[in-house]
Amino acid sequence: MSVRTLRPATVRVGKQSEKRSYSPPQTLLVNKDTGVQIQNPYERCSLYGAALVAAEVYDSDFCVHGPQGCTSAIKEAFAVQGREYDYHHSGMTQSDIIFGGEKCLINALTEAFSPYEKAGPKFMVTSCSSEIIGDNVDGVAARVNERLPLVKVTGGGFKGNQYSGIDNALIGLISKFANPHPERKSNMVNIIGSIGLSRQWRADIYELKRILENLGLEVNRVGCDSTIEDIKRTSMASLTIILMPEAGLTAAEYLQNRFGIPYLYSSLSLPLGLRGTEVWLNEIGDALLIPRKRILEMVDKEEERVRGGLKVGLHQMIYMEKLSYLKGIPVSIIAEGSVAFSWARFVYEELEMKPVFLGMRTGHDNNQLTRALEEWKRESFISPKVLFRPATDEIKNALRDTKTEFVMGSSIEANLAKEMGIGNFLHITNPNTHYVNINSIPFLGYTGILYATEAILNTFNN
């Protein structure tokens, strides 16, 4: 029995990677009809990304050096992560901009550090204002008592988006806390998820952790319900697994460069669906020299569980009715590049839907992704329209031209779909302004297949 893989996963071992420079997004998108420049609605600033990570570290404090308005980004980030927020800001005003803001930063830090000491890291994050005027934040940081676990992160919005903010925060944590002389564990892996970038991201991590633990691996969650101890252990792992290159790739490269820990993200991007998860596991197994037979045994068992789960209720007519809608339904997917590709493959190969448009919000500069996409299009019998970094009106035109009947994306696409009378929508990525998340429900891994399929089927209303 052969398993198709599009190309091997990128596993870099002991090799210097190219210095990654942040290429700013084309945030000013021009509406072709009106000529008006439009801000990219999907991207938040680097500060927001850093806050997403901070919210995931137990008992962390977050102090932003900037005007008080910047706290709105932090508030949103903590809310998205479902955490109570505890943050501070230096409250820069005009005089601080003119004369320098180190003093207000020190006041803010003092407030953040007292009257009690929380166990978690103290994030000190710059904002646009402090970055532009060039406040000597490093100098302030040097004055902070060494016993206080201060993590300095660059957060200027003009310098990066939420993805780079996530990476910066992770690197800040790892550089501060990771044990510099670790005892390497051969069966331990770091896993970095799509931190705060989807509703299910945390549940996804736990599901993938469960699967990897069934393979006998010890899984260190990085930036997911983490403690300082978890960050310390990052240098002990034998492999870093990142789910999407948009979040965590730079941190993974940092771990490789500093500690020689190779990293991996799958050739099929997310471990979504039966094939996505199987390929992901095989590639991890190859990287860690786990016998293929062991992986196959586990895959067979999990698959049986999934297929058994899907079989339940198959004789209910409502199930059959909804399945009949599914087959061949034209679906458009707008999300980060790796996410959009993964979902397109899953819904086409495993649910027999028909992807007609992929709006790839990122990934135009990711060679592995673009190659995988082209290869998949060649092997499949479909050729969906693909647009990188599409503007909202381009998305609308694409939805209309492709006669889309099902949309997968963020709340922005949810509104677009509603406006265009497309009744079927599944929320798979940020931003989320529609759904309350109380239960922890994954879409990745094997358990995720059952939830994702149920969610898709239930979008079809009677």
């Binding site: 079989k311 009715e321 009949s324 495993e350 649910l351 027999e352």
Partner: protein, 489 residues
């Protein structure tokens, strides 16, 4: 003389199969020797439910079941109401007979129900069906209906259709059609036909499928090429007014001959309407045969379609497919007439079809269809036993030599390439259907020997623990058997 199944064939390739050719099975059927009972049919339902399914199809017609409500509720939950039928969903109306009603009779209840239905739903016609209870206790429906005839606006027709009659689904369905057509004949003063060439189209048993609208549009388009129009389409949601228009058409035709044969024969008897003996228009030849069958009855030259450039285009597509698939086995595991039509399409592609879902009672039911397929030169082998074992054995072949399965859903058959054809969702009739099928077959062929990741095409088999019952003596007293009662794992 008795029918004895065979398990060996002269043909070495068929050695492991119990294979009968359709012509052989038909002969046995005509001799009345196939082991099939009267009430066995493909649908596995009784005549009451057959009647109910047809009676409740029409807008403007209220179907009131005199009896307990369980039959109707359970049946309704098994009927699919896919997309298009959102415009019409049959109401389940019954007198919901209880114990007292069975003992003392329920005529009063029936009267009240009829008045209620007439007032609330304002139908043109009320059909009263009886299920087993009302039939067994001998309820006098006609008396009730006659008493009320002046008090309700709707016409009332009573149909005694109890399921315990022993007849199958088909009988009940045909009976209701007959009654409805009689009613149409009563209603119409003038039976002058439309001078233009028009047809009534009967679809198939389960109507209202998402694919149905596309298929009817496609067939209407193709009929339009020879100047034929649709007078009315008999399907879920057809209006009462369209029922009254039925006599206006020149000819009747059907998608599924098994479904349409009974009503078309009756219309022929009642209104002198000829009908086309055609089956599902699947594939190029299947579609052209379907059109030609209709054109012949209408005395229209079908060459207008045959010479159409679109036909030439599809000829080329079929020839290309023949180059790819010639000689390859096609295992058709699709029930009823669909299976025969699909086998014909597979033969058109140069494949060697085997029918895997044929059964004795299916042969009995499909006699007419099998007859005219044989007349056209199609005689397919049918595999009657050992089907799953056969399919599993083919896993050993190289991928390019594996048979291609045609199934509505893919059961666990190892890694054999499978074209799943879902009649609810897949528009496979007419020329556009050819494109769909060729893409599907191509996709299946390209995955031969590879793991199938599709979630709903493949089902794990249920497992249970084998138990040995240590009985002393036979399972049923007084009934000795030579084989010990044993569950097979």
């Amino acid at each position: 003389m008795a029918f004895i199944d065979r398990s060996e064939s002269k043909n070495p390739a068929e050695k492991r199969m119990s294979v009968w050719y359709l012509s052989e099975l038909l002969q046995w059927s005509k001799l009345g020797l196939l082991p099939a009972r009267n009430n066995m049919d493909i649908e596995y339902y009784c005549s009451f439910l057959g009647a109910y399914e047809i009676a409740s199809c029409f807008q403007g017609v209220a179907t009131l079941v005199h009896g307990p409500s369980g039959c109707v509720e359970s049946f309704n939950s098994t009927r699919v109401y896919p997309g298009d039928s959102k415009r019409f969903k049959p109401k389940s109306l019954s007198t919901d007979m209880q114990l007292n009603d069975v003992i003392y009779g329920a005529s009063d209840k029936l009267s009240k129900a009829i008045l209620n239905v007439d007032e609330k739903l304002n139908p043109f016609l009320i059909l009263i069906l009886t299920n087993c209870c009302a039939d067994i206790i001998g309820e006098n429906i006609s008396a009730v209906a006659n008493k009320l005839s002046g008090r309700v606006k709707a016409d009332i027709i009573n149909i005694e259709t109890g399921g315990c009659s022993g007849y199958g689904f088909r009988k009940g369905a045909d009976r209701v059609f007959e009654i409805l057509f009689d009613h149409v004949a009563d209603k119409r003063n003038c039976l002058e036909k439309n001078p233009e060439p028009t047809i009534n189209l009967f679809t198939k048993r389960i109507s209202g499928r998402p694919a149905e609208v596309k298929e009817i549009e496609e067939l209407s388009r193709l009929l339009g090429k020879i100047g034929v129009k649709l007078n009315t389409v008999i399907r879920l949601g057809t209006h009462y007014d369209d029922l009254l228009r039925i006599p206006l058409a020149k000819v009747n035709a059907t998608l599924c001959y098994l479904f349409g044969d009974g009503p078309m024969q009756y219309l022929n008897k009642l209104f002198g309407q000829p009908y086309a003996k055609v089956t599902f228009p699947i594939g190029l030849r299947g579609t052209l045969d379907w059109i030609k069958g209709i054109a012949k009855i209408l005395e229209i030259d079908s060459n207008r379609l045959i010479n159409d450039p679109e036909v030439e285009l599809y000829h080329k597509k079929i020839e290309e497919a023949q180059r790819k698939y010639r000689g390859r086995e096609a295992f058709i595991w699709m029930p009823g007439e669909k299976g025969l039509a699909m086998a014909r399409f597979a033969a058109e592609l140069g494949m060697k079809p085997y029918l895997f879902s044929m059964s004795y009672f299916a042969v009995e039911e499909l006699r007419d269809t099998i007859d005219f397929l044989l007349e056209d030169g199609y005689d397919f082998p049918a595999v009657l036993t050992g089907k799953q074992d056969i399919m599993l054995a083919y896993n050993d072949r190289s991928p390019s030599e594996m048979p291609i399965l045609f199934m509505p859903k893919k059961f666990w058959t190892g890694e054999l390439p499978t074209t799943t054809v879902n009649f609810f969702a897949d528009p496979i009739l007419g020329f556009k259907g050819i494109d769909y099928l060729l893409t599907s077959i191509g996709k299946a062929a390209s995955t031969a020997g590879k793991k199938d990741y599709s979630l709903f095409n493949r089902f794990v088999e249920s497992r249970f623990d084998a138990v040995r019952w240590d009985m002393e003596g036979p399972a049923i007293k007084g009934l000795e058997t030579t084989t010990p009662f044993r569950r097979q794992p």
